[in-house]
């Protein structure tokens, strides 16, 4: 993308979804002309053709200007491609349960599916079987530096065992962490057969925050630079700079979930991004277990028993784009909420920073959901006492734009296209520490044309119509002291409109739902009804 084309295609090729966007330069600005997403089983060129045909029908003059009106033009357009890397599994091995925990955590946050074992939890035969499983792509063998007293006795045993497996599986990547680096000689290439790498990495606790050093290396190893999730992290940083706001991207895809928190650079410094990709936070795991079923059931507004729900989830895994309307759409959103909750739980370390100004929802899990319903799903799960905007990467542009190798060019393009990349869904105000009672206070929204006032009822969701593009100031007056960024009783918050308007969320932080399934469903349904206005009733 260093030449100067008038139009290009931005492709996000995920495990379940192929998304194509047409971007063109119009009046000295890059603009999104159109986008189309379809199941990954459909030929990408066919999707491109359909998008260009529709563009040509919708605006023939624009199509002629861009040179996409003629047949075969789809071949000549430059393409910016981000592709999701194949999910990979790693076995973390250490001499004790205590020592394996930080290794497992670091690998888990780097997007690996993780299995772990120690001599305390598994016998050598079980460990050998586990490592010989062709589904294991890499083994992370680690020890403290110096090794702890609980590790010393078993270090030789596990090094011998893993070295023997590595000799039998030359394709296996071996990562030696901490003092296990001293065992490197055991992993020397045998007869030139080794195809997998042998890498030395720092001890599991190295870096700031602890584990970040090993995490970065594991991330590099898991996926190439143009991997969609890694590209989204770079795009988040560029977006933070472009908007000068703290951005958090939550991406729920077929094979995992990404949380990327970006802070804009100040005084010429570069923006900072913390990203965690969690393989367990995919829309539906390969084999939905009881825990997964319970998590989804907790968010389901559909009356369904556990067996049938498990069947529906397995179908969703087999064919992630099918059954996407009606009951299927509601189950899909319940599964997306459950996956988002897994992502949030696994990335608590992101919450040491202040709450973001803008949360961007991304990924195939939201692809066919109505915008306001996505905003509610985010508000249900991402609960920090703050006022945040919620937007949607509707054309799945973040990944392809983030894959531009040159940082300056990437930031310029994203700054140019920020309004097109993000569909504004809602502004959400979540005060923390609301006490039960008849009234928590009042909110007055001063928009350009009018003002409106609402009473704030504890435990409820207050919706104020504020269309996309409109800006307003919400003046909140509480009876008691609450948390909203800081502590206080009176707050004035700048808010922006969206498809779902302004949402003042007075529910508990974190959200507490009734234990009785019927009551829980009723409550979830009532909240959903208020925002999913296109639903059939």
């Amino acid at each position: 993308m260093t030449s100067d084309p008038r139009a290009f295609l931005a492709l996000d090729l995920g495990a379940a979804t192929s998304s194509v966007a047409l971007v063109a330069r119009l009046r000295h600005r890059w603009r999104l002309i159109g986008a189309l997403a379809m199941p990954a089983s459909i030929d990408v060129d066919a999707i491109v053709r359909l998008l260009l045909e529709r563009t040509a029908v919708g605006d023939p003059e624009l199509a002629r200007t861009l040179g996409i009106a003629r047949a075969g033009s789809f071949r000549s357009l430059p393409r910016l491609v981000a592709k999701s890397a194949r999910p990979q599994r790693l076995a973390a091995i250490a001499a004790s349960d205590r020592a394996v925990r930080p290794l497992t955590e670091a690998a888990r946050r780097s997007g690996w599916g993780v299995t772990s074992a120690t001599p305390q939890s598994a016998d050598p035969l079980t460990m050998t079987s586990m490592l010989l499983d062709p589904g294991i792509d890499a083994v992370l063998l680690g020890a403290g530096e110096p090794p702890g007293p609980d590790e010393r006795r078993a270090l030789d045993d596990i090094a011998s065992l893993v070295a023997a497996v590595a000799a039998r599986r030359p394709e296996l990547t071996v990562i030696l962490a901490g003092s296990m680096a001293e065992e490197l000689s055991r992993f020397e290439d045998y007869q030139g057969q080794r195809q997998g790498e042998v890498l030395l990495v720092p001890v599991a606790s190295a870096g700031d925050p602890p584990g970040s050093a090993i995490g970065e290396l594991l991330d590099d190893l898991r996926a190439p630079r143009d991997d969609a999730r890694r590209a989204i992290s770079r795009a988040a940083a560029a977006l933070a700079d472009a908007l000068d706001r703290r951005i958090e991207v939550v991406d729920i895809g077929f094979d995992g979930g990404l949380r990327a928190t970006a802070t804009p650079g100040v005084a010429g410094a570069r923006s900072r991004v913390v990203a965690s990709f969690i393989a367990d936070a995919g829309l539906v795991p390969r084999e939905p277990d009881d825990e997964t079923v319970d998590r989804v059931l907790a968010w389901s507004t559909v009356a369904i028993d556990r067996h049938r729900l498990r069947d529906r989830l397995r179908e969703l895994r087999f064919s992630p784009w099918s059954d996407a309307s009606g009951e299927g759409a509601r189950l899909r959103l319940a599964a997306a909420r459950a996956a988002l909750a897994v992502l949030m739980e696994a990335t608590m370390h992101h919450e040491s920073d202040p709450a973001p100004d803008l949360i961007v929802a991304s990924g195939g899990a939201w692809a066919v959901a109505p915008g306001p319903a996505i905003a509610l799903a985010i508000a249900d799960v991402v609960r920090r006492p703050a006022a945040v905007g919620v937007a949607f990467d509707h054309a799945r542009l973040l990944a392809p734009l983030g894959s531009i190798p040159d940082g300056t060019e990437r930031r310029q393009l994203i700054a140019d296209m920020a309004d097109d990349v993000l569909a504004p869904l809602a502004s959400v105000v979540i005060p923390g520490g609301i006490r039960q009672g008849r009234s928590a206070g009042h909110v007055t929204v001063h928009a350009a044309s009018s003002s409106s006032e609402l009473e704030l009822i504890p435990g409820g969701l207050e919706l104020i119509d504020l269309p996309p593009g409109e800006r307003a100031t919400a003046e909140l007056r509480f009876r008691d002291t609450v948390r909203l960024g800081g502590r206080g009783r009176r707050f004035a918050v700048d808010v922006a409109g969206g498809l779902g308007g302004l949402l003042v969320d007075l529910r508990d932080v974190p959200l507490r739902l009734p234990d009785r399934p019927e009551r829980r469903r009723e409550l979830l349904e009532a909240w959903q009804d208020s925002l999913w206005i296109t639903r059939d009733r």
Binding site: L36, M38, P39, S41, I42, D43, A46, I47, L50, D123, P124, L125, T128, S129, L132, P134, D156, D157, S160, L161, A163, A164, V165, A167, R168, R169, Y190, H307, R310, D311, R312, R314, E315, F318, S319, W321, S322, D323, A324, S325, G326, E327, G328, A329, R330, V368, A369, P370, W532, I533, T534, R535, D536
Partner: protein, 343 residues
């Protein structure tokens, strides 16, 4: 040349060419074949240990050049008294060397693993698996449970009148006359029927959908059966579509009907039905035949009638759709992602 709109419908290949089949091995299992060996169906390819355990190698030296994964056996000298030992307890698969002593996986009661398909052994990796390039054609499924199996293909003998392929097989419909058969049962089957089928000597079941509860119950029954000393012949379940109820797609039913009465095999990895009947003429289905594979009209088939564009469906969800005409009726709009076509 197919209608251009059909490009946006997922294509399902009914019958594919030869595949590579993997038979998993665990540490201690003994492969009896080598790369390049030509196999006929029923050949014994490995011995699997029922309960492998770890032992330190004793009773003889391990050759210097030994590598993990090699077999080691205690060589009994020709002279002197012989002690009678339990089966093969003094041999095993070398796992790793620790402090100058090798550990090996060994055990008693080996069970034989037979290949249900003919082909050529591509690769043998002790403790990992055997890969065989299978001879024949293949119908792929989404999942296979049980063990690789071979039998004569039979179609559900008692379909209710007019029920077509969307039937549910009841346990009472089975009889011993089906022993040795791989039975096509239609839309779904319960765990009781599967257990009974295995007890009656059937070698497999082919079904469109297997519900999670039935799957779990069958796997538990299978685990109990494996744990027992008296084992029944191998039995496999091939699931063609998924977990919810729907009939078998008519183009696949047609192929199954065409090869009924012939020997077929079910393999686990990848989950598939393998048959070597090159003389059977399998006519391709009409190119515009589409089937609803999910959603409220699941299982219905019809003819493609063109793209319908972005349309509103239940609960205000907007999806790309296509028109399909079923039984000559008025065209109906179905989300493209809920459709499949055949090739």
């Amino acid at each position: 040349m197919i209608d251009q709109g059909l490009e946006y419908v997922t294509r399902r290949t009914i019958v594919t060419g030869p595949i590579e089949v993997r038979f998993p091995l665990r540490p201690g299992d003994r492969a009896l074949v080598a790369a390049g060996d030509v196999l006929v169906p029923g050949s014994r390819i490995a011995d699997r240990l029922r309960e492998a355990h770890l032992e330190e190698v004793r009773g003889g030296p391990v050759p210097e050049e030994s590598r993990p994964g090699d077999r080691w056996a205690h060589v009994v000298s020709d002279t002197g008294p012989h002690l009678r030992r339990s089966h093969d307890e003094s041999s095993g698969e070398l796992l790793f060397e620790l402090g100058g002593h090798w550990r090996m996986a060994t055990g008693e009661h080996p069970e034989q693993i037979d290949t249900p398909v003919g082909g050529v052994v591509r690769d043998v990796r002790p403790g990992i698996g055997i890969r065989v390039r299978a001879v024949g054609r293949v119908i792929r499924g989404v999942e296979a449970l049980g063990e690789p199996s071979r039998g004569v293909l039979a179609i559900n003998p008692e379909p209710p009148e007019g029920a077509g392929p969307g039937t549910r097989l009841k346990a009472g419909s089975l009889d011993v006359g089906l022993a040795g058969a791989i039975l096509v049962v239609g839309s779904r089957v319960d765990a009781e029927t599967l257990t009974r089928a295995r007890a009656m000597g059937l070698r497999g079941i082919i079904v469109a959908g297997l519900a999670g509860k039935e799957r779990r119950d069958f796997l538990a029954s299978e685990a109990r059966q494996r744990a027992s000393l008296h084992r029944l012949p191998t039995f496999a379940v091939l699931v063609l579509d998924g977990a919810v109820r729907r009939p078998i797609a008519s183009p696949i039913s047609s192929v199954l009907a065409a090869i009924a009465g012939r020997e077929v095999a079910i393999v686990m990895d990848p989950p598939a039905l393998v048959f070597d009947e090159s003389e059977v003429d399998l006519a391709p289905p009409p190119t515009d035949l589409v089937r609803v594979r999910a959603g409220e009209r699941v299982g219905r088939e019809g003819r493609w009638a063109g793209l319908a564009g972005l349309r509103r469906f239940a609960d205000g969800t907007f999806l790309e759709a296509g028109w399909i005409r079923s039984d000559g009726g008025v065209p109906m709009a179905v989300p493209l992602a809920d459709l499949e076509r055949f090739a």
